[in-house]
């Protein structure tokens, strides 16, 4: 797939993830990394190595119940196969760790939204502190996160309680085109928002 088409597919994935999140009625604000206006930061920098930028695809504010007013960021993989998702996932946990460490106010929840599962045999261990540590200790991430090629030095620099905290904030979603359509109907959604507006809660 040529770069432009790849980029468009990524943008479409972010857009579709935003639409689905909004359709849950549990999101009050959302934006994508493709937007022309950035109401909130979705782009950060690796602290070491070449200090390259990294970013999340979607961000926003949750609404209602236990998540009311919480900030979230999401990584979207508009993939038709497992492809190289595992590799990206390992980088993503490192990004989550850094974002929570350095910009904790911006990310109460980290969401991985994909259209195809990966590492199915290890699925139930993806959102664990071990999984976060594993990502952090990959060679490329040791350099970018801790500035050292040495594994044991990097390991000593990991804040275990932070890794545990981050793992507890990770969400895994596998969407499908049909699931995107199986959401509250526009008519019923209109009822919800009309009622909220009547009650002055919108």
């Amino acid at each position: 797939m040529p770069g432009e088409a790849m980029h468009q597919k990524g943008a479409d994935g972010a857009r579709r993830a935003k639409l689905w999140l909004d359709a849950t009625t549990r999101v009050s604000s959302s934006w994508t990394n493709e937007d022309a206006v950035h109401a909130a930061r979705l782009e950060f920098k690796w602290p070491h190595g070449e200090e390259q930028p990294y970013s999340f695809d979607v961000g926003g504010i949750l609404s209602g119940g236990e998540f009311h007013g919480h900030f979230f960021v999401a990584e979207c993989k508009n993939y038709a196969s497992d492809s190289d998702q595992g590799m990206h996932f390992d980088d993503w946990v490192a990004k989550c760790y850094l974002t929570r460490r350095d910009h904790y106010r911006l990310a109460d929840h980290f969401m991985w939204i994909t259209w195809h599962p990966f590492r199915v045999k290890a699925w139930n261990t993806l959102c664990t502190p071990e999984s976060v540590k594993k990502g952090l200790l990959l060679e490329r991430n040791r350099l970018r996160v801790f500035g050292t090629p040495d594994e044991s030095e990097a390991e000593s620099l990991i804040d275990s309680s932070l890794a545990e905290d981050v793992a507890g904030r990770m969400w895994m979603f596998v969407l499908s085109e049909k699931q995107e359509r199986l959401v509250i109907t526009p008519e019923n959604r209109a009822l919800v928002f009309t009622e909220l507006m009547k009650r002055g809660e919108l």
Binding site: R15, S29, S30, D35, H103, P186
Partner: protein, 463 residues
Amino acid sequence: MDEFSVVISDLTDQDPSRNVSSIKNAVIARLEASDQGVRIESTEFFNHTYAPDLVLHWQGDGQSRQVYLRTSDNPDYIREDISAIAGKNPIIMPLVPLRDSAGSGELETASASASTLVATPSSINEFAEVRTDSAVSGLLSHAVLQGGRGLLSEERVRSVSSAVDAGFAAAQLSEPEETRQAVVAAERLLDPARAGVLTRLLHAVWLGSGAPASAFPGATGITADLDPVSLKLLLDITVSDDPEFWRRIASGITLEKLCELEISADSESLQHLIAASVDRLRAKSLRVSGIKNPELSSLALRWFVSAGLLGFESRNYVTHFSPGPVSSMGTVDRPNPIPPHLSLLIHRASSAGINLDEITIESDDGRRIDYRPPSGTEIWRDNVLDQLASVLGQKRSAAVSAVVPLPGGARHLTCDLESLTASGRTAAKFHLSELIQFAIPLLRDLSRVESGQLIEAIGGLED
């Protein structure tokens, strides 16, 4: 880079909620600048696919419209949003100009047919920028916020504003081509209801110019009558100071219709309209009250419409005219005057040349006499009245009411000097000019300047 671009390029706050508030406040400021009548409610949502960011409300007509802000500049996404929130006739507001793409034409079609307005804050703000002292620019931006549709660029704001301005000027001169272009521009940009308001206004101005209704270019099915909304708009803006123009407009208006509106004494158009129709508009009753307005120049007499009544204020008193009976003026400040001594009433009648054919006089001890002079007697030359007054007791002999025979003989106007009101029999109606000429001078003492004001208000005395 305008102020709005500065706001959105300067979102450095670590708290996204505060950035969202900055954006919303900047948008609200722009909307308020383009329409002073709008009240804006902000929701807890932002850039949400299905929930609005802002709800616009208008006082009076109970209208509201939802605004969906958009951080994306992709026209294809905006088009998807139109179908997602179809049926709400919303405003979708990209915060920055949309990317040029093949989708722009489709977006224009899709938004126009879904009665959705797609406009950036800067393009809405352009209405405030192009506003001159032209009659209709405020009206147009109000109509666009309420019922605009299609894709609105800053350039389109400028072109439609100038087409509508030119159309109003052209309609006053009966020039069909530019009038037609204004009708067409309004119909393309506005939903049928708002386009109808503008077209009826143009039509009224067209008729006011003296041109025949059948020659009006554009929309068919427009009636000559102005509905209350259009009439209000016409009176809120300054179209013309030509008495003939206002006389033609007035030909389709009744006091009942006028009194459905609220129009402040600041409206110059209302002053022109009444001046052109004091001998046409008819009221059932009138009340003079003592509310002073020292702010007014001693020569000013200003008409207003409020709480179902037409009125004028001047420096020392206010007068209300009602299309209904005296009881319909219940809300008006109720004076509690002591009725004048009989001789004072006679003096008032004599100074104003008003004859009376019945007077009710009250004695010191509350006894009343209805006195009718022999027909043809001028009341101020009637010696019997003087004698009556002295018999009743010099201290008071108050005149509590008087009946004025109006020219033509068949109608009588009763002036009640206890309540400072004037009215006739149940169904009787009087031209404003009659009430001004025959009632007010009996109901209160007028200075020479005040008498002159009234004569001027009814266009001078004919004889």
